[in-house]
């Protein structure tokens, strides 16, 4: 549940920026936005790979199709609708473990969302729709914070969200670095929108001023210990939840997961500052964060039955 809702929120934030960009940004920025989104999801856009338009004619019609694909397409497992519906379905399956307030908030949002299609939001205010849904997931987090019993269910809910972040954040950074490499340089606007999508633009401006420099932005998004969406902080939060949960009955996997997260933290803390291959480090974090998911499953749920009754 935590993972699905976190992804819903991330997708909504990116799509909100993307639809806002349609109002006044040049076609190239819009292209970069879609490219980043599809790259993170490793999904082929409807109609095939995206191409940088020659002129300023990246049409609204294309964006309409792409937004529909990423928002309401039932066959796209990462569409906003699917992520949210899966989060709600997970919540339904464990309603006895979450609070009534959490369930109601999720269910009410789902009831509003379930019959919508892209045309319902497109002509009105699509960015408002995405902002609203992101706000729903924030409100769900608030309800969880205020009402959920702090047992292992709470830890697993948080763990899911942090693992999602630990995958989503490096994936997003890697996409931007790839776009920079292809463009033979960087566009300040790309990094600014990336910071904004990561709730980091205000912090960046406070620390570094108005001009956005990719190296500084990358450092902030990757290693800042206080920024909620940074790679390092996400890993640190995972480590914290592991400490709360213990190694679990599948102790071998549990300890292996704890060691892995320790290595990743060390990587971001000690190797990152001097590394010349930051892309490589991000790739490694992305890959190992995916492994963590399976290790957790084995440590706590699907553990081998050699364990004796205690």
């Amino acid at each position: 549940m935590g993972r699905y809702l976190e992804r819903t929120e991330c997708m909504c934030r990116l799509l909100q920026l993307q639809t806002e960009a349609l109002v006044d940004r040049p076609a190239r920025d819009i292209y970069v936005g879609w490219r980043r989104l599809y790259g993170v999801l490793r999904r082929i856009p409807p109609g095939g790979a995206l191409a940088l338009p020659d002129g300023d004619d990246f049409t609204l019609a294309d964006s309409y199709t792409l937004a529909g694909d990423l928002t309401f397409e039932r066959s796209n497992p990462d569409s906003v609708w699917n992520c949210f519906a899966q989060g709600r379905e997970n919540a339904r399956q464990m309603r006895h473990c979450i609070s009534g307030e959490m369930w109601q908030r999720l269910n009410l949002a789902y009831l509003r969302l379930r019959d919508m299609e892209i045309e319902d939001i497109w002509l009105a205010l699509p960015e408002g729709f995405y902002a609203g849904l992101a706000a729903e997931t924030d409100a769900f987090d608030g309800a969880a914070q205020a009402t959920m019993y702090r047992d292992e269910g709470w830890s697993f809910l948080r763990l899911g969200g942090f693992i999602e972040r630990a995958q989503f954040a490096p994936a997003l950074l890697l996409q931007q670095l790839a776009i920079d490499a292809e463009s033979d340089g960087y566009a300040e606007e790309d990094w600014a929108s990336l910071l904004e999508a990561s709730h980091a633009l205000e912090v960046y401006n406070r620390r570094y001023g108005a001009a956005v420099h990719p190296a500084a932005a990358l450092d902030l998004l990757a290693t800042d210990p206080l920024l909620p969406g940074s790679v390092y902080r996400s890993l640190k939060q995972i480590s914290g939840e592991f400490a709360t949960l213990g190694a679990g009955p599948g102790a071998d996997s549990g300890y292996a997961a704890q060691r892995l997260i320790g290595r990743l933290l060390s990587l971001m803390q000690n190797e990152w500052p001097d590394s010349r291959d930051r892309e490589g480090l991000l790739r490694r974090v992305l890959s190992e964060a995916t492994n963590l998911h399976f290790m957790i499953n084995e440590a706590y749920f699907d553990y081998p039955l050699t364990v004796r009754a205690g």
Binding site: E89, Q93, E152, G310
Partner: protein, 477 residues
């Protein structure tokens, strides 16, 4: 509101009104409220009830060829009121009935004295699809085979009748409580003034009951609720009950057996389980004992149960007592085991396996309700008076081909109660499903889920067949 268009029929018992149109004494307050409330206000109460179910996500899931559909049981906001004396009668009659049914099941698997004494024919018991020879010789804690029962009752001018006893996995108690919460919120002033007895403590009573049935009288046993899983139509109820009784909600894959004991996988390791409130059918409970292809059960579960290391509630094999062919013998069971006269009557029933009953059934198909003994939920049933001649002929062929699979009952003109339909009060047929718990003592919450045949003229109250629900208000003395 008014009753101007209310089609009061003196031949049919009305739960609120006397044949002259005046209210029954215990319905006086509700009647006056209905007269004083505007149609718009009552409709908004009705909408509030529906909204409450929608927002809470209280639904059953129907899986078809396309996407799964979440359906909400339509609930009528006008409660059905029962007086204290009426409830006292039901309470004692239902407790008596469950005591006798438990004695009967225990006898079936331990000596079969009732068969030897000619109280019930052996072939009915042995031939029952829910008879489980695997349970022969088993003795559950406190002699309780059925700890949770949901009986369906009808009322006519002649009183209450038990239509059937649901002993295997009686469902609907979550709807009873959800309906109460929703209706109470909509009619709060009337509810307070009416001095209605509470039903919300059902979870406490259920927990007490289950705790009393732990193996070897173990105090504070570990209880789990075994569900077939999230795709089961009644999953909401499973989740609700697990929450109410403070039990873990588990599926078969969450449990395992070791050395004759049952354990639950937890994030802290294996934990022994003492009582399993199971909502999985007998045949799927244990692939070692029953269907080997079951993915819902726990290998070795029955062995653990028979060793007395875990209690299954309700015990496997109890379906032998709620078979439609066995049902006509319940009054005799009460006399035989308890030495008492039945407080609640049965509906007259013809067993088509008997030649005389078969002949009568075939000759009177247009006056009878004919049911398949193995079906439930209103399926496989012929309502003779409402069927076409062709439907009756086709059904008669099926009855002739396998008479033992059918029973027949007269069409009862069972009671009706006012319902809000399209902004007006109209009478609809209603039944009553109270829930009876049997541990060391019998416990019955004063209330029930009232099922309503929402289609005009329909006698079918099953939710799968277009039925709805209603709150039942049992008044204090």
């Amino acid at each position: 509101m008014n009753f101007d268009s209310y089609n009061l029929d003196a031949a049919i018992y009305d739960e609120m009104l006397l044949p002259d149109g005046s209210p029954r004494e215990h319905s006086q307050q509700l009647y006056e409220m209905l007269l004083s409330i505007s149609p718009e206000r009552l409709s908004s109460v009705q909408e509030g009830v529906a909204r409450s179910f929608l927002h809470e996500g209280i639904f059953f899931t129907v899986y078809g060829d396309e996407e799964a559909q979440e359906r909400i049981i339509p609930v009528d906001c006008v409660p059905r009121v029962l007086s204290a004396p009426e409830w006292t009668l039901l309470d004692s009659g239902l407790a008596q009935r469950l005591r006798a049914l438990n004695r009967f099941i225990d006898d079936v698997y331990n000596g079969a004295h009732a068969i030897a004494d000619g109280v019930i024919p052996e072939e009915l018991v042995i031939g029952c699809p829910n008879y489980r020879p695997e349970m022969l010789g088993y003795s559950p804690p406190e002699g309780v085979w059925v700890a949770i029962c949901g009986s369906d009752l009808l009322r006519t001018h002649d009183g209450f009748f038990v239509l059937e006893d649901n002993l295997r996995s009686p469902s609907g108690v979550s709807y009873m409580i959800a309906t109460r919460n929703a209706v109470k919120a909509g009619l709060r002033r009337l509810y307070r003034a009416s001095r209605v007895r509470e039903v919300e403590h059902y979870g406490n009573l259920l927990r007490q009951t289950l705790c009393e049935l732990g193996p070897g009288g173990k105090p504070d046993p570990t209880i789990v609720l075994l569900s077939p899983g999230v795709y089961n139509a009644a999953f909401y109820e499973h989740m609700f009950l697990a929450h109410e009784i403070g039990a873990e909600l588990v599926e078969g894959r969450d449990l395992l057996t070791r050395d004759g004991f049952v354990y639950m996988r937890t994030t802290a390791g294996l934990r022994r389980v003492d009582v399993i409130y199971r909502r999985v059918d007998d045949l799927f409970l244990d692939p070692f004992a029953f269907r080997p292809d079951s993915m819902l059960g726990v290998p070795g579960l029955l062995d653990a149960c028979k060793r007395g290391n875990v209690t299954l509630v309700n015990a496997p094999g109890v379906g032998v007592a709620d078979d439609k062919s066995v049902y006509p013998y319940v009054p005799d069971m009460i006399r035989y085991y308890l030495g008492e006269e039945p407080i609640l009557g049965n509906v007259e029933t013809y067993l088509c396996r008997r030649p005389a009953d078969l002949e009568y059934t075939l000759d009177n198909l247009d006056k009878l309700v004919v049911k398949r003994v193995g079906e439930s939920g209103g399926y496989g049933m012929l309502v003779g008076p409402h069927a076409t001649p062709q439907e009756r002929d086709e059904y008669a062929e099926q009855v002739r081909a396998a008479p033992a699979d059918f029973i027949a009952q007269p069409v009862l003109t069972f009671s009706r109660a006012p319902c809000l339909v399209d902004g007006e009060l109209e009478p609809r047929h209603v039944d009553l499903r109270p829930f009876i718990l049997q541990g060391r003592e019998t416990r019955i919450v004063p209330g029930a889920f009232c099922r309503v045949a929402l289609r005009r003229g329909s006698l079918v109250v099953n939710s799968s067949q277009g039925g709805g629900g209603k709150d039942v208000w049992v008044l204090e003395e």
